[in-house]
Symmetry: C2
Subunit: 141 residues, 2 copies
DNA sequence: TCATTTCGCTTGCAATATGCAAGTTAGACT
DNA sequence: AGTCTAACTTGCATATTGCAAGCGAAATGA
């Protein structure tokens, strides 16, 4: 487990993975403007490290040559259970701004939720699975 | 979720929680000597922050007045599913040194494993639930 | 075509966090 | 009383982070 924490044992990596997984983010710009307030140099660094760890991969956008699309690998999407448990824990124990009832529903439908997340990943379904649960401080979800 | 990562979004906090949860660690000294190589000032800082976040609590040892026993709170033990999923992910995708067969067994017995972990916490069963899966670099498990 | 904008970064630098070694205090142990 | 041990704290060098600005290539607009 400590080797895992060397990969995403920081404040940003798991947020990037979550944004890829359930918010439908694809590009550098989207992460940058996600409201979490990550600095661009750190973002670039984390994307590089996640790629080196085989958790995400890149492909050039066909419609816009400037854009790089980031995407979770299989190894990356396999983090879905971790993220889901973290989401549930946060909703139960922290004031996340997320609607607890909705999260509890997910908690009692774990397998279905995970199956749906994976299905969307496989089919490249671009719709966000979760909204941003916006709070005033913009850090929930 | 990002508020959760402000609490344990670093390399050490989740390891401390894991050591409390499944390795039966109780004291400062035990964490310090766990082989992960955490510096004492950082350890003190993380214990303070985890306590402030309500994830761990302290009580003075009755047998030895110098010792402080650290213990997970209910909020802390509720992180068990997160840790379990992380353990499973690591065993599947990283070279952790943990015996994959044993971990896969846990993966298919999720609820029983979690119930047992919680039971031991409630009953203050001091036996470690997991061994240290020692590898040469001493960072697996 | 040529200026302007957008995208995905990189650079410089100040602030913060981390790691290492040594020191301190209170409570055992002999 | 003297030594030892547990749980920290302190000082300081190094590493990581955050902030603002800049940069090159590709797109967009006139």
């Amino acid at each position: 487990m400590s080797i895992s924490l060397e990969i995403f044992g920081d404040r940003w990596s798991l947020l990037i993975i979550r944004d890829l997984m359930v918010r439908g983010y694809r590009t550098f710009k989207e992460f940058e403007q996600s409201g979490e307030g990550i600095a661009t140099n750190i973002l670039a660094d984390r994307l590089k490290k996640l790629k080196a760890a085989g958790i995400i991969a890149t492909e050039k956008s066909k419609s816009d040559g400037r854009k790089l699309n980031y995407r979770l690998t299989e190894k990356g999407i396999d983090l879905a259970p971790v993220l889901l448990e973290l989401l549930i824990w946060g909703a139960r124990h922290e004031d996340t701004g997320a609607p607890c009832a909705a999260i509890e529903k997910m908690a009692s439908n774990r397998e279905a939720v995970l199956a749906e997340v994976r299905r969307r990943w496989q089919e490249r379904d671009p719709r966000p699975f979760l909204p941003k649960f916006g709070t005033s401080n913009g850090r929930a979800g």
